[in-house]
C-alpha cells in the first residue's frame, strides 16, 4: 500500500499549543525530553504553564498530582518506558487512587524507538496502565488521532494514558473522522475475519486485508485505539459478523490490547483468536522497520494468523 506518513509527536505538540490558547487551566510537564516529546512547542508559547522537572519522573508524577488537585489539567510527558515503569507506584498512589486529572502522554513507545535498544523500548506500558483502576488508556493509530485524543483527554475528567511512537506513522484515519474516548472504528468492511489493531499495527492490518482480498478473503479492519475502556460493543459486533479475530499491536502480547479483547471474548463470546505482537521478549537496537520485521510485527504475520483462525473456526 502507498502510505503518506505523519508524526504523532508533532500533532501532540500542536494540540497542546491549541489547548494553551483556548484554556488557562492546562499545565504541561516534562522530564528533560521536551524536544523529543514536542512539549517544547507548548513551552515556547506558554512558558509560565510549562515546568521541566528534570530527569526525575517519580517527582514529576507527584507534581502533576499536586497541580491537578489544585484544579489544573496536567499533561505529563516523557518516553513511554520512563513514563510508566519508572514511576508506576507514584502514578498508582498519587494519580489513579485519588482519580486526578493527569494526562500522561508518552512518546517513543514500542520497539520502533529503534537504535536506542531495549532499555528505551517498551512493550509493557499499556499493560501497566490498563491495570490501574480509574485510568483511561488510548493508543492512537496515526498522527491525526494523536491530535484528537490529546484534545479529548483535556475534556475528560480523570487520569488518562496515551502512547505514541517515535517514527512517523502511516495515515490510516481521516482528519474529519469523529473521535470519541472509548470508541474504536471500522476502517474497512469485511465478512470473513476481523483484524483489530492499535497504533502503527493498524496500518499493517490494512495491508494484510488487501493481500487477503486477493486470496478471496474479506477481512474487516478495526482501529481499536480505545484500550480502556475497551470498545466492547465494537468487539462483540465484529466477532458476531466474522466469527474470528486477530489482534495486532506493537506491545507485548502479555496484557496488551489483544489480551483485553481476549478477556472480553472469553467471558462473553469465545471465538477463535490469535494475537500478533511482541512475543514476551525484549527488543534490541536496529532500524524501526527492521525490528518490526524481525519481531513479527508484520502484515505477513497477521495474514498467517488470520488464515489459522479461519481454519479453526
Amino acid at each position: 500500500m502507498k502510505w503518506t506518513y505523519a508524526s504523532q509527536r508533532k500533532e501532540y505538540g500542536r494540540a497542546l499549543v491549541e489547548l494553551g490558547k483556548s484554556r488557562k487551566d492546562v499545565v504541561v510537564l516534562d522530564a528533560d525530553l521536551s524536544g523529543s516529546t514536542r512539549t517544547a512547542d507548548f513551552a515556547k508559547e506558554f512558558p509560565e504553564h510549562f515546568f521541566n522537572c528534570g530527569i526525575a519522573e517519580q517527582n514529576m508524577m507527584g507534581v502533576a498530582a499536586g497541580l491537578a488537585a489544585s484544579g489544573k489539567v496536567v499533561f505529563a510527558s516523557t518516553f513511554a518506558v520512563f513514563a510508566t515503569g519508572r514511576c508506576w507506584d507514584q502514578i498508582r498512589q498519587s494519580i489513579a487512587y485519588p482519580k486526578l486529572n493527569v494526562k500522561i502522554c508518552a512518546t517513543h513507545a514500542g520497539i520502533t524507538v529503534g537504535g536506542d535498544g531495549a532499555s528505551h523500548q517498551t512493550g509493557e506500558d499499556v499493560a501497566l496502565m490498563r491495570t490501574l483502576p480509574n485510568f483511561t488508556v488510548g493508543v492512537p493509530s496515526d498522527a491525526a488521532e494523536a491530535f484528537k485524543m490529546t484534545k479529548a483527554f483535556a475534556d475528560w475528567n480523570g487520569p488518562c494514558y496515551m502512547r505514541m511512537g517515535r517514527l512517523d506513522f502511516p495515515n490510516v484515519t481521516e482528519w474529519d473522522a469523529p473521535f470519541k474516548i472509548g470508541k474504536g472504528c471500522v476502517l474497512r468492511q469485511g465478512d470473513d475475519i476481523t483484524l483489530m489493531g492499535c497504533g502503527i499495527m493498524v496500518s499493517r492490518c490494512l495491508e494484510a486485508a488487501e493481500v487477503l482480498e486477493r486470496r478471496n478473503v474479506s477481512a474487516q479492519v478495526i482501529n481499536m485505539s480505545a484500550i480502556k475502556p475497551l470498545d466492547e460493543g465494537l468487539v462483540a459486533a465484529a466477532v458476531k459478523k466474522t466469527g474470528g479475530i486477530v489482534t495486532a499491536e506493537e506491545h507485548n502480547v502479555v496484557s496488551g490490547m489483544g489480551a483485553a479483547v481476549a478477556s472480553y471474548l472469553a467471558e462473553h463470546d469465545p471465538v477463535p483468536m490469535r494475537m500478533v505482537g511482541m512475543m514476551d521478549t525484549f527488543g534490541e537496537s536496529g532500524e524501526g522497520e527492521e525490528l518490526m520485521r524481525k519481531y513479527g510485527l508484520t502484515a505477513d504475520r497477521i495474514i498467517e494468523a488470520a488464515e489459522e483462525v479461519m481454519r479453526r473456526r
Binding site: V27, E48, H49, F51, C53, G54, A56, Q58, N59, M60, M61, G62, V63, A64, A65, G66, L67, A68, A69, S70, G71, K72, V74, D89, Q90, R92, Q93, S94, Y97, P98, K99
Partner: protein, 278 residues
C-alpha cells in the same frame, strides 16, 4: 515575630492532648495502626490545624485555604483526630478507623474523606505533591501556603530528594515542610538501618531554608511557621526533633509501637497518663 500569649499555647497543648487520647482509642478499636509515629506528629498537627493554617472545615474546598499533605500517611490516626476536632466530620466517626466501609482508611484517601488533600501511604511521595500544589498557587497568584509533614524514614527514598531539588529550583517559598525526626523506623533506629545524618546540612545543600526545633514545643513550632512565611525564594524545611510515642511513657522510643495497637491494659494505662479520668 508574634509573641504568643500563654493561653494560646495552653489551648494548643490541650488540643494535642485530646488528639493523643484519640490516637490511643482509635488504634485500640481498630486493633492495628501506627500509634508511635502518630504521637510524634501530634504537636505539629495541633499547631497547624488549630492555629497556623487558614482553613474552613465546613467548606473543605474553599479556594484560598492552606493545603496540608501528610506525606507520612501512616500517621493517619493523628491526622484524622485533628480533622475531626477541627469539625471536618463527627468525632464519633474516629472509632471507625480501618473498619469495613469507613471513610477513615488505614492510610488517608482523598476521595473518601473531606479535608484530606491527597491520598498518601506509599512513602516518599507527599513532598512532590506539595510542590505541585505550590506551583499551582504561584500560577494562580494566590497567597495560600502548602504544609507538608514528612517522616524521617521516608528521607531514605530517592523521590524526596527529587522533590527537594524541584522545590528549590522553582523557588517555592510558599511551602513549609516538617520533618518529624523521631529517629526510629520499623526495623530499628534510622541511623542503624540507613543513615540519614547530617539531615540539616543535606536540606541546606539542596537549597532549602532549614529551621531546627523541638517538635513538641508549641512555641517553637509556631515561631518556625511564622519564620517560614518570611523566607523568600526558598522553601522551608522545619527539622522537628521529636520522640516516637511522645506522651505515653511506655510507648516513647519504643519500636514495638510503630505499627502495633495497644492492648486493653495498655490502653487504660496510656489514657490515664494522658489525664483521662477512667
Amino acid at each position: 515575630m508574634t509573641a504568643y500569649p500563654d493561653d494560646v499555647i495552653v489551648e494548643l497543648e490541650r488540643r494535642a492532648n485530646l488528639i493523643r487520647r484519640h490516637i490511643i482509642r482509635m488504634t485500640r478499636a481498630a486493633g492495628s495502626g501506627h500509634p508511635g509515629g502518630s504521637l510524634s506528629s501530634t504537636d505539629i498537627l495541633s499547631a497547624l490545624y488549630f492555629k497556623v493554617m487558614h482553613h474552613r472545615p465546613t467548606d473543605p474546598s474553599w479556594e484560598d485555604r492552606d493545603r496540608f499533605v501528610l506525606s507520612k500517611g501512616h500517621a493517619a490516626p493523628a491526622y484524622y483526630a485533628a480533622l475531626a476536632e477541627s469539625g471536618y466530620f463527627p468525632v464519633e466517626e474516629l472509632l471507625s478507623l480501618r473498619k469495613l466501609g469507613s471513610r477513615l482508611q488505614g492510610h488517608p484517601s482523598k476521595s473518601k474523606l473531606p479535608g484530606v488533600e491527597m491520598s498518601t501511604g506509599s512513602l516518599g511521595q507527599g513532598l512532590s505533591v506539595a510542590n505541585g500544589m505550590a506551583l499551582a498557587a504561584k500560577l494562580d497568584r494566590r497567597a495560600y501556603r502548602i504544609y507538608c509533614l514528612c517522616g524521617d524514614g521516608e528521607m531514605q527514598s530517592g523521590q524526596i530528594w527529587e522533590a527537594a531539588m524541584l522545590g528549590a529550583h522553582y523557588e517555592l517559598d510558599n511551602i513549609t515542610a516538617f520533618l518529624d525526626r523521631n529517629k526510629l523506623q520499623i526495623d530499628g533506629p534510622t541511623e542503624k538501618i540507613m543513615s540519614l545524618e547530617p539531615l540539616a546540612d543535606k536540606w541546606k545543600a539542596f537549597g532549602w531554608h532549614v529551621i531546627e526545633i523541638d517538635g513538641h514545643n508549641m512555641r517553637e513550632i509556631l515561631d518556625a511557621c511564622d519564620k517560614a512565611k518570611e523566607v523568600r525564594n526558598r522553601p522551608t524545611m522545619v527539622l522537628a526533633h521529636t520522640v516516637k510515642g511522645k506522651g505515653v511513657s511506655f510507648m516513647e522510643n519504643a519500636l514495638s509501637f510503630h505499627g502495633k495497637s495497644p492492648n486493653d491494659e495498655e490502653t487504660k494505662k496510656a489514657l490515664r497518663e494522658l489525664g483521662e479520668d477512667i
